[in-house]
Each structure stands twice: as C-alpha cells, then as structure tokens.
C-alpha cells in the first residue's frame, strides 16, 4: 500500500501537468468553438451554436468527412493486412529472419513528413522516378498527382508503407506469445494448420488486433502531414480530408472559431470509431 502510494506520488507531477495541458486545451477549444475568432480582426464575439449550425450545412465539410472515412478504412485494412501477413511470415522459421525483421522496420524509422517527400519525388509528374521506369519499360506514364483517384491512392499507399511495421511488430509479438502447447494439442487432436490458426491462434490475437486496428484508424483519420506534403488537398478536393480542412480553416483562413468547431466534431468521430471497435471486437477478446 505504501509502495503504491509512493509510486503514485512520483508520477503525480507529470500526471498533473499532462492533465492540465490536455484538459485546458480541450476546454479552450470548446470556448473557441462558441466564438467567431478571426485572427485578422481583434473582435471575437460569442456566437453560441452558430458555428455548429454553419458546419451542419457545410457541404465541403461533410464531403471531407466521407473522404476521411474512406481513407481510414482503406489505410486500416491495408496496413493491418500487410502487417499481419509479414508477422505471419516472420513467425515461421525462415532464413535470415533477423535481417528481414530489421528490413521490414525501415519504413517505421522515417517520419510521415519524410515519407511524404519520398513519395512526392518518386511519383512526380511527368518524369519522376516511377514514370521514368514506366517510360523505359514502354508503359504509359500515369498522372499520379493530377488524377483524383491516383492521388488518393498515393496518400493511402504512403500511409500503409509507413505504418504497417507497427502492425507487424505488435502482431508478431502476439503470435510469439501463443503457447506452443496449445498448437501441439490442436495438432494431436487432428487440427490442420488452417484450423489451428482459426480456432487456437486467432482468438488469442484478438486483443492485440483490436489495439492495432484502433490505433491505425485513429492515426489514419487524423492524418495531416501526408496531405500537407504530398497533395495539399488536391487535385481539386480529392484528398482534402477533414483533418486538413481543419488546418486550413485555422492557419490559412484564420478562422480559429470554426476550426475549433471542426475539431470538436472530429474528436467526437474519433470517440465513436473507438467505441465501435471495442463494441464489435471486445466480446470476442
């Protein structure tokens, strides 16, 4: 008991500071959302729920929410899937497993900004590296950043490339924690590899899977670095996600009140997404 109290006392200053900063920022944001807060004026009136009313009728915002949800689903499924496949591969006894593990972690070392710059260089039009190779091979060059679908695909690809090592590491650790006795017992009972995986291994992985999916989803939904570096929301509005729209309102249009309103809505969406995953997956965990 004394040791527990002592432990808590040690972390108390940091906890207070973090709580204060988080709560203060959140409360300040709520205050902003009830005001018109243009940074090009010194008049910042209280407007009640006007910002929320405007947001409800804002077609651009809802279109960006739909785009963000599409982006989140695509990124989560692909990053999770790729990470899981690599984790399964590395969980087997293959040659150079250690080296491969290191190589697969390389994307994780780069920041999202560096990843965005890399992708921009590779896919630059009309004669970036990829298009140059296409030309050499006689393949038609593609308008990577001018075509809405391709541009969207590129920001998904950049996210998946950078984030899948996270899924790989967590799931690999989880796979390696599955007791061998259970698998052997299943084998003795006549279960094949696939059946053993579905009925023995997978149930034990649901906890880590839930964590990976939640975290990947939150990261994807709140992505802004890649958009800022690679496309700035274009071409047209094809990659203008809700998080980037919030940034635009705050730091390009100087409308902090409206940006704060968007922030609150995005926060609510994040909470809903998290609760949804927990509700779907937790009973099975």
């Amino acid at each position: 008991m004394r040791k527990s109290l002592t432990d808590q006392l040690w972390i108390l200053p940091a906890a207070v500071l973090i709580t204060f900063l988080t709560v203060y920022a959140f409360v300040f944001n709520i205050n902003l959302s009830f005001r018109k807060y243009p940074l090009y004026s010194d008049i910042r009136p209280f407007v009640g729920v006007e910002n929320f009313r405007t947001l409800l009728a804002d077609y651009f915002f809802w279109a960006s929410i739909v785009r963000s949800l599409k982006y989140t689903v695509s990124c989560t499924v692909l990053a999770f899937g790729l990470g899981f496949l690599i984790a399964l591969l590395l969980n087997t006894k293959i040659r150079f497993r250690g080296l491969l593990r290191g190589l697969f972690l390389v994307p994780w070392v780069l920041s999202l900004v560096a990843t965005g710059i890399l992708f921009k260089w590779f896919f630059q039009e009309p004669d970036g590296l990829v298009n140059q190779y296409f030309s050499l091979l006689g393949i038609r060059i593609l308008p990577w950043f001018s075509d809405p679908a391709l541009a969207f695909g590129l920001i998904v690809a950049a996210f998946v490339w950078r984030m899948h090592p996270f899924a790989m590491v967590v799931l690999l650790a989880a796979l390696q924690a599955v007791p061998e006795e259970l698998k052997e017992a299943a084998k003795i009972d006549g279960a094949g590899v696939f059946q053993s995986f579905i009925h023995v291994t997978l149930p034990l992985l649901l906890g880590p899977i839930l964590v990976v999916i939640i975290i990947l989803s939150l990261w994807a939904f709140n992505t802004i670095d890649l958009i800022l570096i690679m496309t700035r929301g274009g071409p047209g509005e094809a990659t203008n996600l809700a998080s980037y729209l919030m940034y635009q309102y705050a730091f390009s249009y100087w409308r902090f009140g409206y940006a704060a309103t968007i922030g609150i809505v995005l926060f609510a969406v994040n909470i809903i997404l998290t609760l949804l995953y927990i509700r779907i997956l937790k009973p099975k965990v």
Partner: protein, 481 residues
C-alpha cells in the same frame, strides 16, 4: 639673460621652446579640427531623420525573418556570396552605429513566417520586427498587430514607395511596413531547345498565338512527331512546349492565371474584395491554359497537379521548352547554377488585343504594435530598406527577386541591364495580391477550379463560377479601413 658663452644652447633652448610651442599650437589646431568634424559627423548622424541616437543602455530587438532575408545569417546559397557579404557589411555598420542595440533573430521557413507571427502575437510573445509577405500586411494591420510607421520614418521615405504595388502596405492611409525588393513573373525559354527546333527566340511582342505555335513545334513524342501530326502519341511525349503549375499552389491563381486575366482586362476581385474572376475575361484567360493541355497538346495533363518546383525542375531537365517562372530564377543560386547560357527570358506573351501584365510579389519589414522600442525597431527596418543599399545589393548580388520598389531607385540601375529591363516591366504593368482579409480561401478555391478545368471535370465557366460564388457567399469579408 642669455649667456653669451651659452648663447647657442640658450638660443637653442629658446628656439626649442619656440618650436615646441609652435608644434603644440599646430597640434591643437589639428586636434580641434578633427574634433569639430567628428562631433559634427556624430551630431549629423544622430540627427539623421528617422534614426535615433544609440540608446544609453543595452536593448534587445527580436527579429522574425526568413533565411534569405536574414541580416545576421544571410543565406549565401540563396542570395549568393556577394549578396550575403553586402548584407553582413550592412549589419556590421548597424552594429557600429548602435552598439547598444542587440538583435536576436529567429529564422523560419518563408511559407510559415506570417502564420508564426500571428501565433506569436496571439500568445503575447511577438517579436519587435518581422519580415512578412505583402499579402499578410492588411490582415496583420486590421487586427492591430502592426505599428504605423508614418511618424517614425525619415522624410520622403513613404512617398518614395511605388504606388501600384505598395498599396497593400497602407491601412487607413497609414504605412504599416517598408518593402524590400520585388520580382516579376516572366516567360523563360530554353535557348538550346529553340536552336534544335530551328526557331527564333521569343520576343516581348509575342502573342498567345505565337506562343502556342512555337509550343506545338517544340512538343514531340519519342518518334519525333508533333501535335496535330498523324501518329502523334500523347502517352509518349518526350518534350513539351509549355509548362505551368496548376496544382495546389498559390502560384496557380497568382503567378500563372492572374497575369492572363489582367491581360484580358479582367481582375481577381473588385474594390470591395468580392471575387470577379468568373467574368468573360476570366473564362477566356482560363481557356488559354485549358487549350494548351486539351486542344493543342503542348502541355501535359500533369500540370493540373504540378507545383512550382515541378515546373522549375522540368525546365532545368529540358522537359519543358517554355515555362512561366519568377524573375528570382535568374539569381545565382537558381538557373545560372544549373543551366547557365541555356535559358533566356522575355515578357509574358499577350492576347492579340490585350495589354501587358505581370504579377509581382515582395517582402516587407514591419514593426509589431507590441514593441517596447518603436523608434529602434523602425530604424532597423529603415536601415535595411535603404534604397541605395538595396539596389547595390540587387545589382552586385544579381538578386532578381529584389527588383527596386522605390521610385528613386531607377537612377541607380545600369541602363540596358536585365535588372533595369525587368524593373521597367514590373513598374509598367505589374499587379500584386489584392487586399483581402482571411482571403486564403480565395486561392484554395481558385486552385481547385483551375485544376478541375484543365482536367476536364468541369468547364472553365462552371469551375470559375462555383469558386467565385463559394468565396463570395462564405468567405468574403468586407474591407473596412
């Protein structure tokens, strides 16, 4: 009494005394003259209008700037060794004049400096002096973040600023910032590619039709076929005649589209700041670029997603024979470093019945309204925007992003030089950012519209109408000075 026997010595002694007295007298005279001159000089300097005397105690001025306009750490990579050396010399002279004024510099990327200043000011932590792009000045002034400089400036400084471009620096008829130098959007062309095609170089009297005709001859696929010729393969083009950036960059509406709009007699906004680019002139101006991609096939679809560096790189690599770039490309760090002797520039081609127009942007020194030392902050700004210094730096450093913005500067420019020609062009027909509040939404909407039109997802008229109506309905803020 002098000793007759020591007459010589005594005489010598007397003579020596006399000589000494004379020496002392002359020395006193010389010292006195120096003192008078020195004191006069100091007095003159101290009383030089706009420059207060050295403060009795040490003060610190905080300066927020970007790398290539940093007086303490001038970026030689950008402004060349000569430019950097001149900047350092100028700063050393400032230090000698004001030994008690310490300058603390914070350098941020140029794209972020306006935002950084606004955030710092909101936090009550603004620097004393800030170097900002001109389009931020109205927004900063409207929010009371800048100090009017009229009462602090030397006589004649305010009146010397070029009126057409300098209007952005005035708020309620008060001057809020001092401009440095400006630039101009030009048409650059590859001399070697023109030589290979056997074409004469572009001239200042070129029309849009001349440009498209030349661009067609300069565009060819891997089999050497030009647009319009049988078998021309749009997917295998090796060289394009014309490049421009219509991606998500402010260069799209301002550097590329706006000059064409102004040439047609249209404008981006009206006096109240409402969007007017969807006029018939605006549609015609946009059609020039849409046709370049979709009708004449002299520009790739890639321009719809291209940023300014993409076009610059494409020009250097020889992918584009003609491009729309800024005059800063002629500074030593840019094109002369990569393709010296291979490029040329000329004025932007005009429509047949149109008028000359180009776009110019600039940076300016402003003083924060929160500064505790307004006199010294303004003196610093005035020091580094001295006309003769700026022109000297521009000429000696080959800084084509520092074309003079002061009327008195023309006399310093060498007649017949590139710099004089560019300056004459921008003084004659350049326009800049319109005066807007919270107006960045205008550029975002326009970027989207321009890109959509070139990609063919919307007609030029539809794209421009939607963008203008969206801006006027949702983002437009009336300017109340």
């Amino acid at each position: 009494m002098p000793n007759k026997d020591n007459k010589g010595i005594k005489s010598n002694e007397n003579l020596w005394e006399v000589k000494m007295r004379r020496c002392v007298r002359w020395l006193g005279l010389v010292v006195g003259v120096f003192m008078v001159v020195g004191i006069s000089g100091v007095a003159f300097s101290a009383q030089e209008a706009g420059f207060p005397p050295n403060p009795p105690q040490q003060i610190t001025l905080r300066l927020l700037t970007t790398a290539w306009l940093s007086p303490l750490h001038p970026l030689a990579d950008w402004i060349g060794e000569k430019g950097a050396s001149l900047y350092r010399t100028r700063y050393n002279k400032w230090q000698k004049r004001y030994p008690n004024v310490k300058i603390e510099e914070e350098i941020v990327p140029w794209e972020e400096i306006g935002k950084k200043f606004i955030i710092m000011d909101e936090a009550g932590n603004s620097p004393d002096v800030v170097i900002v792009e001109e389009n931020f000045t109205p927004e900063l002034a409207a929010a009371g973040r800048l100090m009017p400089l009229d009462e602090l400036l030397p006589a004649g400084k305010k009146e010397d600023i070029h009126p057409t471009l300098g209007y952005l620096l005035f708020w309620k008829n008060q001057l809020m910032a001092l401009p440095t130098g400006t630039d101009a959007r030009l048409m650059f062309y590859r001399k070697d590619l023109f030589d290979q095609a056997g074409l004469s170089y572009p001239t200042a009297d070129w029309t849009w039709e001349d440009q498209m005709e030349a661009a067609r001859k300069l565009t060819f696929d891997t089999q050497g076929r030009h647009p319009g010729e049988s078998g021309f393969n749009l997917d295998r083009v090796k060289q394009w005649g014309y490049g421009f950036c219509f991606g998500r960059t402010v260069h799209a509406p301002l550097s590329v589209y706006a000059p064409n709009l102004w040439q047609m007699g249209g404008d981006l906004v009206d006096e109240s700041g409402k969007a007017t680019f969807n006029s018939p002139q605006g549609v015609e101006a946009l059609n020039f670029f849409v046709n370049a991609v979709n009708k004449y096939h002299v520009s790739p679809l890639a321009v719809a997603g291209a940023d300014y560096p993409d076009i610059e790189q494409g020009f250097i690599k020889g992918t584009y024979a003609m491009v729309r770039l800024g005059s800063w490309e002629c500074t030593p760090a840019n094109l002369p470093s990569y393709i010296p002797d291979k490029y040329g520039w000329t004025e932007i081609p005009t429509p047949t019945d149109g008028k000359d127009a180009t776009m110019s942007g600039y940076w300016s020194w402003a003083v924060s309204s929160r500064t505790k030392y307004p006199q010294y902050a303004c003196a610093l700004a005035t020091w580094f925007t001295d006309v003769e210094f700026m022109v000297t730096m521009a000429i000696q450093g080959d800084l084509y992003n520092q074309l003079p913005m002061y009327k008195s500067a023309m006399k310093y420019l060498p007649v017949g030089s590139d710099m004089a020609a560019m300056t004459e062009y921008e003084l004659r027909c350049a326009k800049g950012f319109p005066k807007l509040l919270g107006g960045w939404a205008l550029w975002d909407l326009m970027e989207s519209a321009l890109s959509s039109a070139v990609r063919g997802t919307k007609s030029p008229k539809q794209a421009l109408d939607e963008a203008a109506n969206e801006y006027n309905g949702k983002y437009w803020v009336p300017i109340k000075e």
